[in-house]
Structure formats: structure tokens, C-alpha cells
Symmetry: D2
Subunit: 138 residues, 4 copies
């Protein structure tokens, strides 16, 4: 199972008048977390797009337990529980600098061929980088 | 059952390099939809906050069927399926100007007393405005 | 001289922990104001882009006098002081619902041909719609 | 003269349909740059707010030379040209990973006492940390 961690600091722009990190910002944070997870595997999402793939989000769910505050340094733990096929599933846990779990989320994305705009298998390089993490599962 | 509709136009700032309305913007759109739904009832969320209530989001789920594009005029249909207690549940459907259903979502929020920061019953005025829509259910 | 007005309500997402509308949101508001100004002239910026023009911003200046707050209904007064050539200049004044001037800003944009990515003259339709507002100046 | 550098990677959420980093995001980037500049001095903006100071922006100017693109790793060079008094002036230069200058900007902020909401002198600690960088100028 592939796991990755990324740190994101809450910007002033991302706070709201309640003093919380606005609940809508996590979608952006998880996008950053996904991209950095791929980068950790040696994969560039930017290059994937340049090579003709896009990965729109099909589904997003999040449960908020505690708010994050301005300047908090969040750790987002990203997991890809299964080897992806046309669809790829990610789960996320957000912790603050005290180690408190702030929220848990999941997203489903789909690999799409930019030319046909139809679902497609993930790039070979993508699967090859992930396979070692799922050996025991196969 | 209380239903409300609000129109939101996709801003340039809200598009992404795929040409889509970025998937994370809907959380903001639904917040606008909630506030306008309340305004349609004669309730001001701003005033509610001034009077000591805040309504953080506990849970958010969304399924994306089709993207919205720049300058699309979206219609968001907001429903409060049940008379709220400490928690209030909203469902949303987003349509584009051709009437195509783009996504469906739901949020759970909680009424919180700003002084104690503990869950609380909704303001009386809030419930009184909503009750007529749920008479048959009672 | 062409003038236009648009109303924009401050969203919760756009507030910050100071309780203000975050200073960076005005760039987005002015983009909306520009697009609505063009729409008022019978011009669609979306259609212009589809037809091969883009209008990146070259310069942006803003002076903040007073903050806007959550749920404020702002009026943005947009002016095109001169008939545009390759560059187009806009000025903006933002007022709140009490008529208080909150800020003044200006932007310079350039018409760019999407294929060559080089500066170009504005579309004929664009100039034709604007000319009547500058007759005396010619 | 105090100078500082911070790296910021362009998020997918921050791109627009032109494929550029949206022009309005730089206000947020410069806020991050300011806060990290202060952190580099051993100062926490968060703590300053907790201790009763806020620093609203009075003026913001930016000239855009070249766009940034998705996943670009930008370097923002922040300078405080003069020892601040009630007002503090920052200048910024944004470079991409190829060292190309993308834009130049400046902001004026004011120290405000949170209780009175009136302009005030900067906190002593703030000035003490900065003084060594301006010795020759005095």
C-alpha cells in the first residue's frame, strides 16, 4: 500500500471570519497532497497532463473533526489503498502540529485521455512505480 | 420540505488549466447556496453569527457527473430534508444553463454557541421560519 | 466614456480571520466587474476567448481605504476611460451598501492573439460597441 | 536592508483556463512571502496578532511580465527597503525555476492596534530584529 506525507501551512487567505481554515480549502490541500505523493514516486502530474492524461475528480468526501487555524503546519497523510485501474482512490488524514487528527477524507479520480476525453488505463510508468507497493496483495 | 434555488456564475478565477470549474470551488458555492436559502426564509446568517451562533461544517460529500465551464450560469438547488435540531442537513444539486445535472452533494452542519463553542439548539427564529415547511412530516 | 456597475456579495470563503474580505479577493471581483461590463455592452468575454483572443493583465494597482465585511453587498463601478487599442485600461471603485468608498483600483490588460500569443488589436465588434461612448473625445 | 526568499509551488487550484497562474493569486503568495520573511527574522505574525496587532494592507501594486504555470516552483524575493514606522513597505520579485523574472510588486501595510483599531508603532521586538539590517542607513 502506498503512503505519503506532505506538510502544508495554513495561509491567511485561507482563514475565515470564524478564525478557522475555511472548510472548502481542503479540496485544494488534498490535490497538493496527491501531486506530492506522485512526485515522491518519481512521477510528475504536470508531465502526465503534457503527455495526454487528465485526472478529474469523480467523488470527494470529508469528515471534519477539528478546525485548523492560521499558520498551523498541517501534515496530510495520503494513502492509495489499491493498485489503480481506470479509477484511482485516495484517502487522506489531516493532522495539525500537535498531532491531532483534524479530518479524514477520500477522493475517487479517473484517468481520462485528453484527446478522446474518455476514461482510460493509467500510464504504464504510473502503474510500474506503484506495483512494488502492492506485491503482497496480488 | 424547504427548497431554494440560487444562480452562481463561474468566475475566471475559479477555472483551472483543464478548462473546468475547479472541483474545490463547489464547497464555496454551496455555502453561498445555504446563505441565500436562509435569506429566502427571511433569515440572515450574518445576523445569526452576530447574535452568537456559528455553523461549522461537519461533513461534506459530493459526486461530480459533468464539469462546469467558465461563465456558465449554474443553478444550485438546495434542500433541507428535515427540520434541523442541533445538526442541520442540506442537499444540493448543481445544474448548468442547459439544465444538465453537474453534481450532487450534501453537507451536515452543527449549530454552535460562540461563547461556549459547544453544540446548541438552533435559534428559535430559525426553527419558526422552517416549521411551516415540515408540517405534514410532524 | 464607458461606465458600468456590478454588485458582488462577499462570501464567507472570502473573509479572513481579521473579519475582513481578504485583500487578495478584489482582483477576482474586478475580473467579474470587467466581464459584466463587457456583457452590458453585449459582448461576451467567453466568446472572445473562443474566437481566439485572451486578455492577460499587465498591471494592477489598488488602494484600500476601508475593509469590506462578510455578506456586504458591494457595488463595483468600472470605467474604461479611453477607447482601447492593443492595451485596455480599466478603473474601479468599490462601495459598500452604505455607499462608503472602500477602495480604488486600476488594471491594464492587453489583447493577445491565442495562436501567436502576441499582442493584437481588439476584435472589431469590441471597438464598434465602445466607439459611441467616446465620440466627443475623438 | 532586509531581504528574504521563499519558494511557492503553483497549485492546480491556482491555474486558470488560460493555463496561467491566475493573476489574483499573487496577493496570497506575497502574504506568504511576508510571513515567511518575518519568520526568518524569528518573528511570528500569528503571535503578533495574538498579542494585539493586525497589519492590514493599504496599497498593492504589481506589474506582470510573464505568467507562471502549473507546478512551477516560484521564488519570491521580498525586501523591506526601510526600517518601518507605523507603515511598513515591502517589495517583491517573483522568479520561476528558470530564473526568469515574472513580476514585480510592492505593498504598504500599517500596524494597527486590535483594541483601538488605530494605527500604532510596530511591536518593539519587531523593530529590534530589523534594526541590525539598517544600521548603515541610520
Amino acid at each position: 500500500m502506498f503512503k505519503s506525507e506532505v506538510k502544508i501551512r495554513v495561509r491567511y487567505a485561507e482563514t475565515d471570519k470564524m478564525g478557522y481554515c475555511y472548510y472548502g480549502n481542503y479540496a485544494t490541500y488534498f490535490e497538493v497532497a496527491r501531486v506530492e505523493a506522485l512526485r515522491g514516486l518519481g512521477l510528475s502530474y504536470r508531465k502526465m497532463e503534457d503527455e495526454g492524461f487528465v485526472m478529474p475528480v469523480l467523488e470527494f468526501k470529508i469528515k471534519y473533526y477539528k478546525p485548523a487555524y492560521y499558520d498551523d503546519e498541517l501534515t496530510i497523510e495520503t494513502t492509495i489503498p489499491n493498485l489503480p485501474q481506470t479509477r484511482i482512490f485516495f484517502t487522506y488524514k489531516t493532522f495539525n502540529q500537535e498531532g491531532v487528527l483534524l479530518n479524514e477524507a477520500e477522493t475517487t479520480l479517473v484517468f481520462v485521455d485528453k484527446n478522446t476525453m474518455r476514461p482510460t488505463q493509467p500510464p504504464k510508468e504510473f502503474i510500474n512505480k506503484l506495483i512494488p507497493f502492492y506485491k503482497e496483495d496480488v
